[in-house]
């Protein structure tokens, strides 16, 4: 094939980056879900649709900027991500108030209710934006690749997603372990009755937690417009992977989510490189199932008195 040593080195670097980039995608996807599912025990089947809210926000703002302020095109994306968070946060707040809070004592019903919510949201997207997939115009600096040497191409969008993931993950850790809200959430998770008794408004805490989880989903969806598609049903592409990451990592542990995203991403991208795509997926899933059979609680589990 005529591969020189430097070619081989380039491939190794790019393949390593491919793994890391998949890792950040999975982590970003799983993070919002980990907060909602892990901390509140709500199985949110509409998680993917909150991502789609973020993706469509980018699309809307990109068309608006293009029409009214084309000179701002290079900068709109950063603002749009913040807006995506706010919109998805608001949608999550609304969903919690209207639907989820009535079902906390019936976890299986939340599954059905959020599934219904996801179908409803898909239809709203379809009626609003049309059934066809859309593509936001991305700022020029996000496209293409950075090639420090000949033959080595590092995707810029991949680096961007990675940076964003780092930021969001850091932010979530800080909030959970260094803020009053985080304290209340952790108290509610470990003992709801006691938390109530010492004066924590667990209802408000729940609503805030759910909305933040949805907001993070919105950020994830916004980031994914750089690598994937935006359509009414795009959310359903991500939901399975997101649950996989969270369940495999151990539901209540953020650290577990990070570790599981890393493990799944590396397994998948390495097997994909040596085998074919469909085969790689099969192997990855088999590995996950095997490990979950041995450790049903996932990779990491909180030590808790039951």
């Amino acid at each position: 094939m005529g591969l020189s040593a430097s070619d081989l080195w380039n491939i190794v670097v790019m393949q390593g980056f491919a793994g890391l980039s998949l890792f950040s995608v999975l982590l970003l996807m799983g993070l919002g879900l980990a907060i909602i599912f892990g901390q509140m025990g709500v199985i949110n089947m509409a998680h993917g649709e909150f991502m789609t809210v973020g993706a469509y926000t980018i699309f809307m703002l990109s068309s608006l900027t293009e029409t009214y302020a084309p000179s701002l095109m290079p900068y709109y994306f950063l603002v749009a991500i913040a807006v995506a968070f706010v919109l998805a946060f608001a949608a999550g707040w609304l969903a919690e108030w209207a639907l989820i809070r009535h079902l906390y004592r019936r976890p299986l019903d939340t599954l059905l209710a959020t599934w219904g919510l996801s179908l409803g949201m898909q239809q709203i997207f379809r009626s609003t934006f049309g059934a066809k997939e859309v593509s936001p115009t991305l700022p020029e600096w996000l496209l293409g690749s950075w090639s420090p040497t000949e033959g080595l191409d590092i995707p810029i969008n991949g680096m961007f997603v990675m940076g964003l993931t780092l930021l969001v993950t850091g932010g979530v850790f800080l909030m959970l372990y260094r803020s009053r809200w985080g304290l209340r959430v952790r108290a509610t998770v470990s003992n709801r009755g006691m938390a109530n008794a010492i004066g924590i408004n667990t209802r408000n805490t729940d609503r805030m937690t759910f909305a933040i989880g949805c907001g993070i989903a919105g950020v994830a969806g916004a980031a994914f417009t750089t690598i994937g598609s935006t359509g009414p049903t795009s959310g359903s592409l991500y939901i399975v992977d997101a649950f996989l990451v969270v369940t495999f990592g151990g539901a209540a542990s953020l650290l577990g989510t990070v570790a599981s995203a890393f493990g799944i991403a590396q397994t998948q991208s390495i097997t994909e490189f040596f085998l074919t795509g469909s085969m790689a997926k099969v192997l990855t899933l088999l590995a996950i199932i095997t490990i979950l059979m041995i450790r049903p609680q996932g990779l990491f589990a909180l030590k808790m008195r039951r």
């Binding site: 393949q15 379809r126 049309g130 995707p155 690598i227 490189f273 795509g277 469909s278």
Partner: protein, 419 residues
């Protein structure tokens, strides 16, 4: 949808209007009357289809909801446009076409159930519908048992032929062979990397492509890979492509994966400046989602592009945009769907009857000179003779037509040596 009562009601009002019009404007009423009178309902409809003296009912069966709505919306619109135009020109045998639309909802059993409803309850004279092969396979036994007529618009994998279906899209060999020969001859491609989404159409198409490359042209296939539908991470694949360095990537990725694939190719520096790529799964519709700037300079092989420069197509594009807005785009399948109602009209007029058996017999040899793609003719195997074309993707989401097969290509759904 409408019950029997509703329909009787509709008919009686339209009949009343018709005779009123006749009294006041005899000259305008005449041609329609004479045509319908020349073909009395009892004679042109011996199998109890939904045909009256003034009206003929047809069915439309696509996914208006669910994942496939993305693709099928264009077909729904094109068929409606064609039917509207036919009605404005006097209808079929002097009868106006009425549409009953059913939603297959991207679900194959629903397609089967709705087709049964259209054929058995509504007794429609023809059905324009289906998009995926899976939905077509689901309704085929019903069309054959109930003796209906389906006009199917999508390019597909071939290996099928039915008296009860007219295939207005290309079967695999019409789309694949000429395009491959073009990249070999014009671009000097000698090695190929085949990529597809993991289901029947890409796999069958790549099988034909591989046979053509290896057995008939004696060139090399250096890789063949499939990814699950909805897969969105192609970085490992792209690295693999960089190692084997094929002259040409042959891509049949569909749906959301399509968007991810081209965005990531661009992000990894695999652009048309460095790499030749030929696809049979990207039309103007897909480019809406992918964004032309992510894949400009790559090639697609289709029979129709919106930018085709002929007077039929200018008129078609203009009418389509007038009806569905200036931003509407028209892909290959949308055009093929537009052919369906016209080909049915010609077949009915040639047969002088709405009976399915007579239409099926009359169809071979039917020509449509007004087709936006230029000129098509129905083959005895119920597929269309049509040309193949290569379009180069432009950053504005349109194609520049760079090559066209000199002759119409014969449809060959059961190609020898390719199975």
């Amino acid at each position: 949808m409408s019950s029997q009562d509703d329909r009787d009601d509709l008919q009686s009002t339209s009949r009343r209007n018709f005779s009123k019009g006749l009294a006041t404007l005899p000259l305008i009423g005449m041609p329609g009357l004479s045509l319908a009178a020349k073909y009395p309902t009892a004679k042109v409809n011996t199998t109890k289809l939904a045909v009256t003296d003034t009206e003929v009912t047809v069915g439309q069966l696509h996914s208006a909801t669910g994942t496939m709505a993305i693709s099928e919306t264009g077909s729904i619109q094109a068929e409606r446009l064609a039917i509207e135009q036919i009605n404005a020109a006097g209808g079929v045998l002097g009868r106006q076409i009425k549409i009953i639309q059913e939603d297959g909802a991207s679900d194959w059993p629903t397609f089967a159930e709705k087709s049964k409803k259209l054929l058995v309850n509504d007794r429609v004279a023809a059905v324009f519908g289906c998009w995926t092969s899976a939905s077509r396979k689901a309704v085929l036994p019903i069309f054959e048992k109930e003796n209906g007529m389906l006009y199917y618009p999508t390019f597909y994998e071939g290996l099928e032929q039915s008296k009860n279906v007219i295939y207005t899209g290309q079967e695999a060999t019409q789309q694949i062979l000429w395009g491959l020969d073009w990249v070999m001859k014009e671009k000097g491609a000698k090695s190929f990397f085949l990529i597809g989404s993991d289901y029947i159409w890409p796999r069958t198409s790549n099988k034909i492509a591989r046979k053509h490359i290896e057995n008939f042209r004696h060139l090399k296939v250096v890789g063949e890979e499939y990814y699950p539908l909805g897969h969105t991470n192609f970085n490992s694949l792209i690295n693999k492509i960089k190692i084997v360095k094929p002259d040409c990537i042959y891509a049949i990725v569909v749906g959301g994966s399509n968007v991810a694939f081209y965005k990531q190719m661009k992000a990894a520096g695999v652009t048309s400046k460095k790499q030749l790529l030929l696809t049979i799964s990207v039309t103007e519709d897909e480019l809406l989602g992918i964004g032309g700037e992510n894949c400009d300079g790559f090639y697609a092989c289709m029979k129709y592009f919106q930018s085709l420069d002929n007077s039929n197509n200018h008129k078609f594009v203009e009418a389509f945009k007038a009806k569905y807005g200036p931003k509407a785009v028209i892909g290959d399948v949308t055009q093929a769907a537009y052919l369906g109602p016209w080909l049915w009209k010609f077949a009915v007029e040639k047969a002088g009857s709405f009976d399915i058996d007579k239409i099926a017999k009359a169809s071979p040899g039917i020509e449509f000179k007004g087709a936006p793609e230029g000129y098509v003719k129905i083959h005895p195997n119920h597929h269309l003779w049509s040309k193949a074309r290569i379009g180069e993707i432009q950053s504005d989401g349109q194609f520049k037509v760079v090559a066209e097969s000199p002759e119409l290509i014969e449809p060959n759904p059961f190609p020898k040596g390719y199975q």
